[in-house]
Symmetry: C2
Subunit: 159 residues, 2 copies
Amino acid sequence: MEISFKETNKRMARFEKAIRQAGVKVTIQRLEIFRVIASSIDHPDVETVYERVRERLPTVSLDTVYRTMWMLLDLGLISTLGASRDRTRFDANMENHHHFVCSRCGLTRDFYSEELDGIKIPESVKDFGSIEKAHLEVVGVCKQCAAKPNPKAQEEDTS
Amino acid sequence: MEISFKETNKRMARFEKAIRQAGVKVTIQRLEIFRVIASSIDHPDVETVYERVRERLPTVSLDTVYRTMWMLLDLGLISTLGASRDRTRFDANMENHHHFVCSRCGLTRDFYSEELDGIKIPESVKDFGSIEKAHLEVVGVCKQCAAKPNPKAQEEDTS
DNA sequence: TCTTAAATAAGAACGATTGTCAATAACATA
DNA sequence: TATGTTATTGACAATCGTTCTTATTTAAGA
């Protein structure tokens, strides 16, 4: 919701192109599911997407939404907030720090930078609410994963 | 693992102080669980913490680890990577952007800043692996939550 | 040491996610 | 446009992570 028609259409066009290129079938379910996520400003979870899709497609199943979301992720058409499919992970480092996260295996390491700690946050962000803290999330591929051949085997090594 | 004794001890001291201040009991389980997370460099999940605690305390139960982790979070002694207790959430915005996240309800909004897009990442980060992208995660309290009285009722409004 | 409330362990229960499979629909081809 | 092939769907069972319940144990103050 609340994404402009223009932007939504741009995303839909990208979707149709990517999905055909990938050789997977274009179904009503997939179109509607992508339309929902592409027009959402609020980064919904699967259940929320499901509810929104049902408004137009009452017979859709929750499974299909799950399957489609992961497919969209694999195709690089959407991303997840935080680590996908991952469990909650904890951090006892209460100093100011930043994270490097491996997009393949989820390995996460802290790093420090006084320069980054002093980052200027745009004034407009205060329209959303008060600001407590900020940290940079750097996403990449860790050395271990880079050394592995298999580029699509994103399991294991969650250390 | 791999956190220096000095730093671990510093964290343990902070833990003992905070836990007594909070008026909760100091149990062996809690000490060992905190010791594990305080000495871990790798941001483990609950299951991993559980396994490490069992090396020293074989009878500890998984529930206790769960309960203790949430307690530590409530006491502000640890934090979670990404949104805690939350389901996976999706983002169809593939442009360069940054996030504002409400620490109470999980509300997440995008914002843009060319200045931030050009951020310099310390060279040392490359020791972890290759860098694909980076974004700033700003944590605060959204206006809706700020308007509510209850400061500890962190549910609802996950829109 | 004794008392009491809080914390624990164990196992049941719950909720989110995934797997299985028969029925259906997309798409290539005729 | 009709048909065959194969991926996809929906229903429901199964799985896995997390939480709840309860009887038992333990920390901490009297």
